[in-house]
């Protein structure tokens, strides 16, 4: 089970009215390398991974939901007061036709999230390498998102999320080292 804390992991402040940015940020909400995919990928893989690294997948998978919530806050702030005309001008006309102002798990091009974005191969090395790649892809996505806005407050939150991807990547690579290593095991033949 989870214990919910009624606050964001890191503050989200959006200082510029820029609904266009919401359309791009949604990539990290419902995209292939987004936070939803990350959370579901890790929390699902943790059942079939050596004991020593289950906790890591549990913790990182949980943190990804906190990131998902931050992205949701950004998208919501950017769209909640936008008029229909403003949404249309921001490229969100199709989104409005389908969802009004509601958030939806879709990527920046409007493609709905699908489970085929994530894998569970059951092989610990294969799964951890997928996780490492996913973190680096998410880091790159955050870089491109930071490149696309000049709102320094939005950039600040995105930079925090980018740094977390870097930390998660090193933790997954440490997990690979942990499951590779059997030098500490006493072997009796």
């Amino acid at each position: 089970m989870w214990v919910y804390e009624k606050k964001l992991q890191y503050p989200v402040r959006v200082s510029k009215c820029d609904p266009r940015m919401a359309k791009f940020l949604i990539e990290q909400y419902g995209g292939a390398d987004g936070e939803l995919a990350a959370a579901l990928r890790y929390l699902n893989q943790r059942y079939t991974i050596p004991d020593k690294v289950i906790g890591l997948l549990n913790d990182i998978g949980t943190e990804e939901f906190a990131h998902l919530e931050m992205i949701a806050a950004m998208v919501f702030k950017l769209t909640k007061d936008a008029t229909v005309e403003e949404l249309e001008a921001a490229g969100l006309g199709a989104h409005y036709a389908n969802h009004d102002n509601a958030l939806y798990y879709e990527n920046a091009a409007g493609v709905p999230w699908t489970a085929s974005y994530i894998q569970a191969k059951g092989d610990p090395i294969a799964d951890l390498y997928e996780d490492i790649a996913a973190e680096e892809k998410a880091r790159a996505t955050y870089q491109w998102l930071i490149d696309m806005t000049d709102d320094v407050d939005l950039q600040d939150s995105l930079k925090f999320l980018r740094e977390r991807e870097i930390i998660h990547s090193i933790r997954f690579r440490e997990a690979v080292e942990i499951i590779k290593d059997d030098r500490a095991t006493k072997k009796i033949f």
Binding site: I146, D147, T149, D150, K159, E163, I166, E177
Partner: protein, 73 residues
């Protein structure tokens, strides 16, 4: 703008028939995590407030990033 030590630069082929004005170079980032196989114990730590701001407890794992919009790229 202070140069980002994590940034790598490479030049790309330019054809005289390229339709758009050529970019002189391309950049990408190699974050600090690529140089640490397993984090050693006892690394220096940020204060809690600094750690929240940086997104990591350890200065050795902090990776700065500047928007290309601000760099004019």
């Amino acid at each position: 703008m202070k140069a980002n030590p994590e940034e790598r630069v490479y030049s790309v082929f330019h054809s005289p028939f390229d339709p758009c004005p050529p970019k002189p170079y391309r950049t990408y980032v190699v974050p600090v995590n690529q140089f640490i196989v397993f984090q050693p114990p006892g690394l220096p730590q940020f204060s809690p407030a600094e750690a929240l701001r940086h997104g990591t407890l350890w200065p050795a794992l902090y990776s700065p990033y500047t928007s290309r919009k601000f760099k004019g790229e």
